[in-house]
């Protein structure tokens, strides 16, 4: 769909985990048109001297209620300011969207989705669409602690197989990084003669780089969702460029989802 700049009322803004927050916005135009993996470029209310918009992946949308959900982490001035916004008292946000290249699972029959930290959120709409298309979908999630695995319950509800989880402190699932779970999933699928035909990963860049390498070794097509500092968010300013084998590409509109084989890490 064409891009819009939609004034969006903030309906809810709650802490859902350690340093993790869930914001619900009233944005029916974008909710109706957004595809899994696309993002919104938000003008956060009350930011005064901080003039730039912030890009946010969309965790979930509800076409019927016209709402979007955004899972975010407080990492800098903008996101920390957001944690203090009180629905009904703060002003409205403005959202440019839906922006960017969506996930392209093609006609995947067996997919593996890997989410590290808040990277679990931008994969959820993809999981929904894969499930609706009848693809067998497995999920690997990694986080620092059990409390930080905030997306786990929704994946459990959606999918037949519960997500394989890893936590840094071992408070839930495997102790350590989730990459070992990815390796196991790929090996098990290969042994069973049912190798994945699509892999999607979103999370910290080192995780995406490692998983991209594993997918290449296993011969499984892989997509990654990259995040860079952005100004315009619509492809004009060339702030958010990513090095690829085809030259510099814009994370905002040529991505954020890229074929992992094209990315120069």
């Amino acid at each position: 769909m064409a891009l819009v700049n939609e004034r969006a009322r903030i309906l809810a803004n709650a802490k859902v985990g350690p340093n993790l927050y869930l914001m619900t916005l009233d944005a029916p135009d974008i909710a109706a048109g957004i595809e899994p993996g696309q993002f919104v470029h938000m003008k956060v209310p009350g930011m005064e001297a901080h003039i730039l918009r912030r890009p946010f992946s969309v965790y979930a949308r509800d076409v019927r209620t016209g709402t979007l959900e955004i899972l975010y982490q407080a990492v800098g001035f903008g996101s920390e300011h957001m944690t203090g916004l009180v629905p009904g008292q703060c002003g409205d946000a403005e959202l440019i969207g839906p922006v960017g290249r969506a996930w392209h699972p093609a006609d995947a029959k067996r997919a593996l989705l890997v989410g590290g930290g808040v990277g679990a959120a931008p994969l959820f709409m993809l999981a929904e669409s894969l499930a609706a298309a009848g693809a067998r979908t497995d999920v690997v999630l990694g986080a620092q602690t059990e409390q930080a695995l905030t997306c786990r319950a929704r994946y459990e509800e959606l999918l037949d197989a519960p997500p394989r989880c890893a936590t840094d402190d071992g408070s839930f699932g495997r102790e350590g990084f989730c990459t070992s779970l990815v390796a196991e999933a790929l090996a098990e699928a290969s042994e069973a003669g049912e190798q994945y035909d699509y892999l999607a990963v979103c999370g910290p860049e080192p995780l995406m780089k490692i998983v991209a390498g594993m997918s290449a070794e296993a011969g499984v097509p892989c997509e990654v969702s990259l995040e860079k500092r952005m100004a315009c968010g619509i492809g004009a300013c060339l702030s958010c460029v990513v090095d690829t084998v085809d030259g510099k590409k814009r994370a905002c509109v040529d991505g954020p989802v890229f074929d992992a084989r094209k990315v120069v890490w």
Binding site: I51, R229, A236, C237, K248
Partner: protein
């Protein structure tokens, strides 16, 4: 909210005010263009702005062949502004001609092409390559702070300003705008050199050289360490320089630097600008350029100004 508001690119509102200006031979239907590098060549803003309704679209700087630009990170947010060090990344003049200029022409846009080069020869070659293309004026970029050769290194010395402007002047009869850097001791001296070498108009200011530091990591925020400051933070500096240059030369001025509203634009016109450019504000509000046109018209209506040209240099002091 709703579909009607969001459905179409925004065009300027009807007004009884006469909004047309002439910038050194360039006829503009209103005084507002876009600052080079903040609007690409318009296409990215096509869902938001009717580019044909603007006074002009100024394209991102173009060189003869493509430039890769600088390493990332390329931007940093700073108080009431931002730093950038994009480094004039562009796919080259042939791409602009094939891909972007026809799109602008189809929409009836008035087009200013921002011309960049590593050498005096390259500026001339870019202009020569564009002489058969639908271009209404050139803006010679001798003020980019983010490249090692060309750019600001040319624009800070009167001898090189005269040399490059003189050569560009000889290459075209189209209106020639020269974009000045604020990173000089005396902007009026540079302005006079550009005028003497044949510039039809001057645009100012390009970005102010600046820097931002991440104290925790003890690293610069930008990969190139320094970059160009833009946004509302630079507006007082830009206004002062427009006023100084207005008093120093007789060619018309295209003023820019932190303009976010119609009133900001009016302030630049009062200080001596014939036309104005919306820059960083495009990143904040993609419809800003059109809203600034409407804001100027509204100011004129409220003040009983029938012709926007009455504002040019009308500062009382």
């Amino acid at each position: 909210m709703g579909e009607i508001e969001n459905a179409l690119p925004q065009t300027t509102a009807p007004t009884k005010v006469s909004m047309a200006v002439n910038l050194g031979g360039l006829e503009m239907k209103n005084p507002v263009t876009t600052a080079s590098g903040t609007f690409a060549a318009g296409r990215e803003y096509g869902d938001f702005v009717d580019v044909g309704s603007l006074g002009a679209v100024t394209t991102k700087g173009v060189s003869l062949n493509g430039w890769e630009g600088n390493a990332s990170p390329r931007i940093a947010e700073t108080p009431s502004g931002m730093l950038n060090s994009i480094g004039l990344q562009n796919p080259g003049v042939a791409h602009l001609k094939e891909h972007d200029l026809p799109w602008l022409q189809e929409r009836g846009a008035t087009v200013i092409v921002n011309v960049s080069g590593h050498s005096f020869d390259e500026y001339v070659q870019v202009i020569e390559a564009l002489e058969d293309a639908p271009v209404d004026a050139y803006e010679v970029n001798i003020s980019c702070p983010n490249v090692d050769a060309g750019g600001m290194t040319i624009g800070t010395c009167t001898d090189s300003v005269e040399a490059v402007v003189g050569r560009c002047r000889a290459a075209t009869k189209r209106p020639l705008i020269v974009k000045l850097t604020p990173n000089v001791t005396d902007v009026a001296e540079i302005a006079r050199a550009a005028e003497a070498a044949g510039a039809d108009a001057l645009s100012l200011i390009n970005t102010l050289l600046g820097m931002a530091v991440d104290a925790k990591r003890r690293r610069p925020q930008l990969a190139r360490v320094v970059g160009g400051l833009s946004g509302p933070a630079v507006k007082p500096v830009a206004l002062r320089m427009v006023w100084e240059v207005h008093r120093a030369v007789s060619v018309p001025l295209l003023g820019m630097g932190g303009i976010s509203t119609g009133i900001d634009a009016v302030e630049f016109m009062l200080a001596g600008a014939t036309s104005v450019a919306a820059g960083t504000v495009n990143f904040v509000n993609p419809r800003a350029s059109v809203e600034i046109v409407d804001g100027i018209a509204q100011y004129c209506e409220e003040q009983g100004v029938q012709d926007v040209r009455e504002l040019i240099g009308a500062l009382e002091c």
